[in-house]
């Protein structure tokens, strides 16, 4: 009983130290007590590969995006760029705009994240012709 309590308290303390304020992708939400932790770069690379699949289908895009938004992090611009290009391959402009909205919503009180992400994505947005939600006026209800 005490060992279980100790194990719980250790993992609790560990997650406290791990929650350093981070702006973009942090480690994945798995807490192993042993084994290798996935680094931020590996996490990002995995998701970029997922969205970069040339013949990605609409379901995979939705599933990937909904899962990614479910994590406790704001995705890196490179992941988002891959997702936007996937939207382009699927001829889905609405999803591309929705992804940008979701990123802004995901940043919550950290208002500086969204402008940074837009700044990083600007070349892609211009190239593909994706408007920002602000340009369309849907950022205000």
């Amino acid at each position: 009983m005490f060992r279980a309590a100790l194990r719980l308290s250790v993992s609790g303390a560990r997650s406290l130290t791990r929650s350093r304020p981070q702006y973009t992708a942090s480690v994945a939400a798995r807490s192993y007590s042993h084994g290798k932790q996935e680094t931020d770069e590996e996490f990002d690379a995995r998701w970029v590969t997922y969205f970069s699949k040339p013949d990605i289908d609409a379901w995979e895009l939705r599933k990937g995006m909904n899962t990614l938004i479910g994590y406790d992090l704001v995705p890196e611009p490179k992941i988002l760029e891959a997702a936007l290009r996937a939207c382009r391959r699927l001829n889905d402009l609405a999803s591309a705009i929705r992804i940008l909205e979701a990123v802004k919503d995901k940043s919550g009180p950290h208002k500086e994240i969204y402008p940074y992400v837009l700044q990083e994505l600007q070349p892609t947005l211009n190239e593909l012709g994706i408007p920002t939600p602000e340009e369309l006026g849907i950022d205000k209800a």
């Binding site: 938004i69 929705r98 909205e101 979701a102 802004k104 369309l136 849907i138 209800a141």
Partner: protein, 173 residues
């Protein structure tokens, strides 16, 4: 007994059937409610699900289909209104609209207070018109007599009641 069974049968066929499946009720039941097939994926507005399972508008009109065709080409060719139209085809509410909230709470709170106030009126009326007189032992003089008796009896003389009465000066401390 046979008569009562016939009576029940008659009620079932005549009165209850009319009440339960009257034509007006039937029409309201089947026509006002949109049939939602819960066995297939549905559209939903959720902050945590940016890309819903199905688009909001399923049955496209001719212009909407044409717009969808244009979507397959370069998006730089589309006007802002077309891009907005494409967004609204797939999504009912934007994130800002989802987060909006309403003023309904004011209505709810107001309604609660109105009903509390009305209840207060009922309680007051009941107190005045239903309840009888209180017992005479609650009158001023009765209470004075009671208190004097408690002092004479030395009720709670150490820390409580009689402790607060000064027996020499015959007054409260």
């Amino acid at each position: 007994m046979l008569a009562s069974r016939a009576l029940v049968r008659g009620l079932q066929s005549g009165f209850w059937r009319r009440v339960s499946t009257s034509s007006a009720a039937w029409v309201a039941h089947t026509h006002d409610v949109d049939v939602v097939d819960c066995s297939v994926p549905q559209y939903n507005n959720r902050l945590d699900t940016p890309l819903p399972d199905v688009p909001f508008v399923r049955n496209l009109s001719v212009e909407q289909k044409k717009l969808k065709e244009n979507e397959k080409g370069s998006w730089t060719q589309l006007t802002k209104e077309e891009k907005l139209a494409l967004y609204r085809l797939t999504h009912e509410l934007s994130y800002a609209e989802m987060r909006q909230g309403s003023k309904e709470w004011m209505t709810v709170l107001g309604g609660v207070f109105i009903f509390l106030g009305f209840t207060g009126l009922l309680v007051w009326w009941q107190r005045v018109y239903v309840y009888g007189d209180v017992p005479h032992t609650l009158s001023q003089e009765s209470v004075a007599q009671q208190t004097q008796r408690m002092i004479d009896m030395r009720v709670n003389p150490v820390h409580g009641f009689s402790n607060k009465w000064d027996y020499e000066k015959k007054q409260w401390k």
